[in-house]
């Protein structure tokens, strides 16, 4: 079936607008789109979106992570193997993280990472035919915000929710951070790490995030104030 931008799409639909744009200039096909001989076909169910000038993608629901390059993810170290850490990132296989890809690490000076630790890292290599590889430094060798995440709490959610809360127009984090202080790391692989002063506050953040998945912007705002008032009322 032929579809337009903004339509609800199913796999097997095709969009001529993209092909038409493609004739004029280069277009970027995001997730859920695929070019075949004659048309640009949809691969996932969701809503077809366009960002000007030439980026197209499908907003779809997904829980299972498929590694993709240069995304920040949260992983759990499951094994030390030779000079590698094996990190579970929720994909089809574990990702490799070298001892040397930490800030200031040398052969002698190894980073202190234990099995079970939570790691915030960047996807360096992610291709369907290769084992994914992570790094905890940027291209300048600085760690930035990457590295081991201590304490706090990690929980899983759908990949959409991550995208939703990271979207600048989403009011959730904006409203929450005004209420009480907390730290948060969101991995594109559907994991969120949070840490606040007290456990109750940590749980409150987690609850607010998970609760926001199916709420509209206004509802999110109300929810945040509600949670805050409860917290304020009973903080021990």
């Amino acid at each position: 079936m032929k579809v337009k931008i903004g339509d609800v799409v199913l796999p097997g639909d095709y969009c001529d607008e993209i092909t038409a744009d493609g004739v004029k200039s280069k277009v970027v096909l995001g997730p859920g789109l695929r070019k075949e001989v004659d048309h640009v076909y949809i691969m996932k169910a969701g809503v077809l979106r366009k960002r000007n000038p030439n980026t197209f993608w499908v907003d779809s629901y997904q829980k299972r992570y498929v590694p993709s390059r240069s995304e920040n993810v949260i992983g759990i170290v499951v094994q030390k193997a030779g000079d590698l850490y094996r990190v579970d990132i929720g994909g089809s296989c574990t990702a490799a993280l070298s001892y040397l890809s930490f800030e200031g690490a040398t052969k002698k000076n190894r980073p202190e990472v234990q099995i079970g630790d939570v790691i915030y890292a960047k996807m360096l290599v992610a291709s369907k035919d290769m084992e994914p590889e992570l790094v905890c430094v940027d291209s300048h060798g600085k760690k930035g915000r990457l590295g081991v995440l201590n304490d706090g709490f990690v929980f899983k959610c759908s990949l959409n929710l991550i995208r939703k809360i990271l979207n600048p127009i989403c009011p959730l984090l904006e409203s929450l951070k005004n209420e009480w202080p907390f730290e948060l790391a969101a991995g594109m692989n559907g994991r969120i790490w949070i840490k606040a002063n007290t456990m109750r506050e940590t749980i409150a953040v987690g609850y607010a995030i998970l609760g926001a998945e199916y709420l509209s912007d206004d509802e999110i705002k109300t929810m945040c104030t509600n949670i805050a008032s409860i917290l304020a009322g009973h903080v021990s």
Binding site: K63, S92, L159
Partner: protein
């Protein structure tokens, strides 16, 4: 959600809930009339090296009847669903991984396999796996007097001379899978095929409606 009258075709009322199971990557529960099926999709996952394929994802389909001992016809159902899904999923995007589809029969009042195929398709949509196209299964029965009945009821199936089930893809509406029981003439087969092909539109519309409802919240 009830599919309304359309081109004088009428399918059994369809009801569906996506993401029914929290642990699965994608799941759906679908009722077509009184027949109810629950399907779950997991993947792409890590699997044994022996069953890995360099070219595409290995698809494993498990069908579980409501109760009783496993039997040969369960394996047949698995094979039908596996081969149908294999044409729909773009397995080449996930080489060396496994995709597991598990189907649980909940109620069988006829048309179990068509319901299972549709339910699996919905679960796949929910899982976010890349697909070439969606598929829709439609069944019909030929009664003793030679009339075709679309989506027969339990009683109609029991008294039917033949039943025919077809699965179509959403792109060109070509036949992906077909299976029949009973004896029928060539003409009846052709007519059944065309009517089911036309009726498959209803199923595709239903899919779109389902996706539309949840798109509002994920957007």
């Amino acid at each position: 959600m009830v599919a309304e009258d359309f081109k004088d075709f009428k399918l059994k009322p369809m009801k569906c809930e996506l993401n029914y199971l929290s642990k699965s990557d994608g799941s759906a529960i679908l009722a077509q009339g009184e027949t109810v099926v629950l399907a779950s999709v997991n993947g792409p996952l890590d699997i044994k090296i022996t069953s890995q394929s360099m070219e595409k994802a290995t698809l494993e389909v498990l069908f579980s009847a409501k109760g009783g001992k496993p039997n040969v016809s369960d394996r047949f159902k698995e094979s039908v669903i596996r081969q149908t899904c294999e044409t729909a999923i773009l397995g080449c995007l996930y080489p060396r991984t496994g995709i597991t589809v598990t189907i649980q029969e909940l109620e069988d009042f006829g048309g179990l396999l068509t319901c299972a195929v549709n339910c699996t398709c919905l679960a796949l949509l929910n899982s976010g796996l890349s697909m070439k196209h969606v598929v829709a299964a439609v069944g019909c029965a030929l009664d003793d007097s030679g009339n075709l009945v679309l989506e027969p009821t339990y009683d109609q199936i029991q008294s039917a001379a033949a039943t025919m089930h077809f699965v179509f893809d959403s792109r060109a509406k070509t036949l992906v899978t077909g299976f029949t029981t009973g004896i029928f003439s060539e003409g009846a087969y052709d007519e059944a095929l065309e009517r089911c092909r036309a009726a498959s539109d209803l199923v595709f519309d239903f899919y779109r409606e389902v996706v539309a409802t949840y798109c509002k919240v994920i957007g």
